[in-house]
């Protein structure tokens, strides 16, 4: 296998994630934590994140579907999701989560327009879902490349 090529690919994928704002500085922190003792730390955390966030988002989906105008609850969910995003550095997702919460809060102020607010929230949530799946795809590719590029690659610190 062409390790060099793979490694380069991985590096460029990674760079792209940062440049395009999918990932932020927190991701660096995760990478820093990876060492010989926990060689796959970043991947593990990311996996955890996606598993957890998928579950959370399913809850949110359900809540939205029911059209229950419990915006506080939605806000709580979103708070959780946002916290999760920040912990791995999922920057774009985080932004969308913030936007969503803004929608929820607006609702609380203008109760009479709750239905339209709900629509806004749903749309916002769609964006979150999109970001979520894009990020997942990219990170999955990234880690796959890393794995393919060989264990050496995992141990070395990618260029920042």
């Amino acid at each position: 296998m062409d390790y060099v090529h793979l490694r380069r690919q991985a590096a460029s994928l990674r760079k792209g994630l940062f440049d395009q704002g999918y990932l932020d500085e927190q991701f660096y922190q995760l990478e820093d934590l990876q060492d010989d003792a926990s060689p796959n730390f970043v991947e593990e955390v990311v996996t955890l994140f996606f598993r957890d966030s998928t579950r959370l988002m399913a809850n949110i989906d359900q809540a939205l579907d029911k059209c229950v105008k419990d915006f506080n609850k939605l806000d709580v969910y979103m708070q959780q999701l946002k916290g999760s995003c920040t912990s791995i550095g999922a920057s774009r997702m985080k932004t969308e989560c913030t936007a969503f919460r803004e929608c929820c809060r607006d609702e609380n102020i203008e109760g009479s327009h709750s239905l339209s607010i709900l629509n806004l929230c749903m749309r916002s949530f769609q964006k979150i879902k999109r970001e979520h799946s894009v990020l997942r795809q990219k990170l999955e590719s990234y880690f796959q490349l890393l794995r393919q590029a060989g264990p050496v690659e995992c141990a070395t610190r990618p260029n920042k």
């Binding site: 820093d32 934590l33 959780q80 916290g83 912990s87 791995i88």
Partner: protein
């Protein structure tokens, strides 16, 4: 953790952190980061689990990191509970950076508020909160001693060094704290959370200074004035008096009259009242956050076990001016439930002195753990409230004896119940410390209350606080407590009532029970053996609130082990504060050692001469218990300059 194994120079390595967050990703990341900081980490995703862990062994953890938004319990509530029960520093975390939320965190007593994502640099600094808290506890102790400080300077004693160290101008100390802390923090993240920390520090410093000013001015009398230790009993009397008068109408003069304690001055009462009011305010403020808490009057508070009933009680107290018997009973029960079986003794301390406490309560309820029911607040026991009429040592000793014999749990090698020393010199100003051999227990309850007292410095250090907490709890505690604690009380009290000149202090074997206050649940056997109930002793801090008076205790010789001093201080101070180890200046070092972390000073009065205290290398580090030596104590300013 076996602290002894950890290298001395590794401070703050070994700091034991409990992380609570419902998000597994966050937990994972934080855990790894904290491990990299060489801390010891325990994670849990549920607040309930965290509380259980904390309650199980109070001194296992040095610090709690908690998320704000959790499904099973509000992070702020957890924060309060931890503060109230264990008086551990709690750092909140959240992705929510809204100022009002952060403010809420501060108000609830958080030592810090980190905005997620939490960075390594921030985590590297969290140990400061532990240290700072300890010191601030110590400072508070000092400040509360008011005239004591002055008398300290004037009174030659064995603890000259300690005095010098501890008599260091609290303001200066505070400033040092602030400077020290801020300088370290500045190196950290220059973000909102860092700035927040600094402002919090400044705020705390101001509070300290103000308090110090107040206390000192409150006691302008001669420098030789004996310190008043607000023991549980004394405080109980105080509360009774306040109840009688009604909280709004309670003025020091009238309270003093009602209390009828010889040797107590109006100033003493005034300053104590001030603290009490602050405490109540704090409690009612806290209680307001939990509107769901049932009113104790409505029946047994069985719903929210996690909430220290003490708060409810106080709320009730504030509202009605009385502590309802049923509330007390409920509180007692709750405490029992909360405290678990491991710490049966905890409340004993309260029990005994409370004998005199106001309305006969239903405390005679039998609790499984102890047969102290006979000692519960039962007017028939006929123990006079005033110190001067302190029941003869023998009586107490006997009672304690009985109880002790029944429960020897933690006491371990404590051995026989110490008999009151004949040389005891009971003085009104003496501190009666209901030390229990299981300090943990006591501490928990006390600390909780103490913690709630002020957001910034949980242990106001006033005996008062302890008193209040004990007040409410005492009835409960008593029945449930094992004998040993009671035992501790007896002789302890007697011993502690020593005044100046008597050297009963902890050093005497009879005090074996008393040391327990030092939270860590270590039982100190004044025969020089620190009997720890737990491998990790002395928790940080919340220790005893030592009020004045301790200083009058001469140090016993025994405190060779670090833990001893802590214990002693516990004893000394206890009177009221049984909790952990509020260390007064003198004991700072000792306590520090005991805790294995931070802290100088234990509650022992300056007179207390503890050899180890003097040593600047006694700074504990996380890796060591009692006597951990900080390689470079000066770096941390822990060389007695607190």
């Amino acid at each position: 953790m076996d602290r002894a194994d950890v290298d001395e120079g590794q401070f703050p390595a070994g700091l034991r952190v409990l992380v609570v967050d419902d998000d597994v990703t966050v937990l994972r990341v934080l855990k790894t980061m904290l491990l990299q900081c060489r801390y010891e980490v325990t994670t849990c995703s549920q607040a309930a689990t965290a509380l259980a862990l904390l309650r199980e062994s109070k001194d296992t953890y040095h610090l709690v990191l908690s998320d704000v938004h959790m499904p099973d319990m509000d992070g702020f509530k957890l924060l309060e509970l931890v503060g109230l029960e264990m008086d551990l520093p709690v750092i909140m975390m959240s992705a929510d950076a809204r100022t009002n939320i952060v403010m809420k965190g501060i108000k609830h007593g958080a030592c810090d508020y980190l905005i997620k994502p939490v960075r390594m640099e921030e985590l590297k600094n969290i140990w400061q909160h532990v240290v700072r808290k300890k010191w601030s506890d110590n400072n508070r102790d000092l400040e509360n001693s008011g005239s004591f400080e002055e008398s300290d300077r004037n009174i030659p004693n064995n603890n000259a060094n300690i005095n010098n160290n501890t008599n260091n101008n609290p303001n200066k100390r505070v400033a040092e704290d602030a400077e020290y802390a801020s300088s370290v923090n500045d190196g950290g993240a220059p973000d909102g959370s860092g700035g927040w920390k600094s402002s919090q520090k400044k705020k705390r410093c101001t509070v300290k200074e103000e308090e110090e000013g107040e206390t000192e001015s409150a006691d302008p009398s001669s420098s030789k004035k004996p310190r008043v230790v607000w023991s549980v009993e004394l405080h109980q009397q105080f509360v009774n008096a306040v109840n009688q008068l009604g909280i709004e109408k309670a003025v020091p003069k009238r309270i003093l009259e009602l209390m009828n304690v010889p040797g107590l001055t109006r100033e003493n009462v005034a300053s104590h009242l001030q603290k009490f009011r602050l405490y109540l305010k704090r409690l009612s403020g806290v209680t307001q956050h939990h509107p769901g808490l049932p009113n104790p009057f409505c029946g047994p508070v069985s719903t929210n076990i996690k909430t220290p009933l003490g708060r409810l009680d106080f709320e009730t107290l504030v509202a009605s001016g009385h502590i309802p018997p049923q509330a007390l009973a409920v509180l007692e029960e709750e405490l029992l439930t909360q405290n678990g079986s491991k710490q049966p003794i905890r409340e004993i301390a309260f029990g005994q002195p409370l004998v005199k406490c106001g309305p006969p309560t239903s405390l005679t309820r039998q609790f499984p753990q102890s047969n102290l029911s006979n000692i519960t607040i039962n007017p028939s026991l006929d123990m006079p409230p005033s110190f001067s009429n302190w029941p003869s040592n023998n009586d107490l000793a006997q009672i304690m004896h009985q109880q002790q014999q029944q429960q020897q749990q933690v006491v371990g090698s404590v051995g026989s119940v110490p008999q009151p020393s004949a040389s005891l010199n009971v003085q009104p100003s003496c501190l009666v410390i209901p030390s229990s051999q299981q300090m943990n227990n006591f501490q928990v309850s006390d600390n909780a209350i103490l913690a709630s007292q002020s957001q910034q410095s949980p242990s106001q250090g006033s005996g008062f606080q302890t008193g209040s907490s004990t007040l409410v709890q005492s009835p409960m505690m008593l029945p449930s407590q094992s004998l040993s604690s009671l035992q501790g009380m007896g002789p302890a009290n007697q011993n502690f009532q020593i005044n100046q000149g008597s050297s009963i202090i902890a050093s005497q074997p009879s005090i074996s029970g008393n040391s327990s206050y030092t939270s860590a649940g270590s039982v100190v056997d004044y025969n020089n053996n620190l009997i720890s109930t737990q491998p990790k002793n002395l928790r940080f801090g919340v220790g005893q609130i030592v009020d004045e008076g301790l200083k009058t205790m001469t140090s016993a010789s025994n405190n060779n082990s670090f833990s001893m001093p802590g214990m002693m201080s516990g004893m000394m101070n206890s009177g009221v504060a049984v909790t952990g180890a509020l260390m007064s200046d003198n004991n700072r070092q000792v306590r520090r050692n005991n805790l294995g972390f931070v802290g100088k000073g234990t509650c022992l009065p300056s007179r207390f001469a503890m050899d180890e205290i003097e040593s600047p290398t006694n700074l504990p580090n996380f890796s060591q218990i009692g006597g951990g030596d900080l390689v470079n104590p000066e770096n941390f300013g822990l060389d007695g300059q607190i």
